[in-house]
């Protein structure tokens, strides 16, 4: 392979590329079937870990932008959500709030991670947990508006909590390894040649 030097490209193009590629990354998490979590033997859809990873790896601005881009493409009809769902239905359905919550998820996760000098596992865990909490904070009232009963909506959402807790931990661990493998990912794009 060629020796590719660390490029010092103009930032707009590098930012654009990261946003686009991460939007695609979250889409692929949903499209790609059969990712096995732990030893359960049941393929689990891990797409909703995508916004957490986007925030934790790219930071608040670019992470949020990539989630917004993905949701916009879903809304115009591209089948990029898990199970090949696309269009406007996922947004107006009962779990639509959790989708809108992804935006806040990436934002909050990114904001917390950015505060750390060198994001280690504790900070990342805190960030992804907060990210998921915001998603719930938006998704549950939305569901409550549907059913007309906030309490019932909260109880129903508990079903997903164990799985989502697993994803929060997994996203933090993965982000920690990625930050160690490619230091400087958060700060500026394209400094891997250092």
């Amino acid at each position: 392979m060629p020796d590719v030097p660390a490029p010092r490209v103009s930032l707009p193009a590098a930012d654009l590329a990261r946003t686009v590629v991460f939007a695609a990354f979250i889409a692929v998490l949903g499209i790609f079937p059969g990712i096995y979590l732990g030893g359960s033997g049941v393929p689990i859809v891990i797409q909703n870990a995508g916004p957490l990873l986007a925030g934790a790896i790219l930071g608040a601005r670019r992470g949020t932008a990539s989630v917004v881009l993905l949701l916009a493409l879903v809304a115009i009809g591209l089948p990029l959500l898990s199970g090949g769902r696309g269009g406007l239905a996922p947004f107006v359905g009962p779990s639509g709030g959790f989708l809108f919550g992804w935006i806040a998820s990436a934002l909050v996760t990114g904001l917390i991670v950015q505060r750390a000098e060198r994001p280690g596992l504790p900070v990342l865990l805190m960030a992804t947990t907060a990210g998921l909490a915001v998603d719930y904070a938006i998704g549950i009232p939305f569901l409550g508006a549907y059913t007309g009963d906030l309490g019932a909506a909260a109880v129903q959402s508990l079903v997903f909590l164990p799985g989502d807790a697993g994803k929060v931990v997994a996203a933090a661990v993965i982000a920690a390894v990625v930050h160690r493998a490619l230091p400087g990912t958060l700060a500026r794009p394209a400094v891997h040649g250092e």
């Binding site: 590329a17 889409a27 406007l88 019932a152």
Partner: protein, 199 residues
């Protein structure tokens, strides 16, 4: 381009994108505000009439209906247990009406039409430095990136399998992410070389 769109020439297909979206938002708002099963039933009927007008073929229609029905039955059972029969009926009608309407808009509107509509709507923003043409560009770029990353994901999964680590999340996610970020850097460089960062 792959999408959920079903081609056709009906009134619903030919209606302007903006009108369809407005109608959908109005309907979604109404569905949330109304609490009477009767009115919700009427709205639901209106949406189903839309399906008939659009002459959506049965294979598309049945698939959607079946998924919706399974969801509705599940939700109804749960709500009945939690909140009682009347409330369960209201929730189910809301769910079916909103989802069916949103799905109808998506089925009858090609992605390209939405893209050009958005580009048209963004035109007044040009004086603030927004470039309307970039909407189509973003769609194309992201779809291309999805294709590339799907290839990477496949390779990474094979590699994880070859190392006997197909059940490990990190053995899949870490190399996948590292290659994803590398690809982003290379794409950024390629875009810069083709002048995409220059305004």
């Amino acid at each position: 381009m792959i999408s959920a769109h079903e081609p056709g020439t009906s009134v619903v297909h030919r209606a302007p994108v903006g009108a369809k979206l407005l109608a959908l938002f109005a309907l979604a708002a109404a569905v949330f505000v109304l609490g009477s099963p009767l009115w919700l039933g009427v709205l639901c009927g209106v949406v189903l009439l839309g399906y008939a007008l659009a002459r959506i073929p049965a294979r598309r229609w049945l698939r959607t209906a079946r998924a919706l029905l399974i969801l509705a039955v599940f939700v109804f059972a749960l709500q009945w247990w939690l909140l009682g029969a009347q409330a369960a009926l209201v929730v189910c009608l809301r769910l079916v009406t909103a989802l069916a309407a949103a799905n109808l808009v998506t089925l009858t509107t090609p992605v390209d039409d939405v893209v050009s509509a958005v580009e048209r709507w963004a035109r007044p923003l040009r004086r603030f430095g927004v470039r309307p043409e970039s909407v189509g560009l973003l769609v194309g770029l992201t779809m291309q990136a999805v294709a590339t990353l799907s290839g990477i994901a496949r390779e990474v999964r094979e590699a994880a399998k070859a190392r006997g680590a197909e059940r490990s999340v990190t053995a899949f996610a870490v190399p996948f992410l590292v290659r994803t970020l590398r690809h982003a850097d290379e794409l950024g460089e390629a875009l810069a070389a083709r002048g995409a960062g220059d305004r």
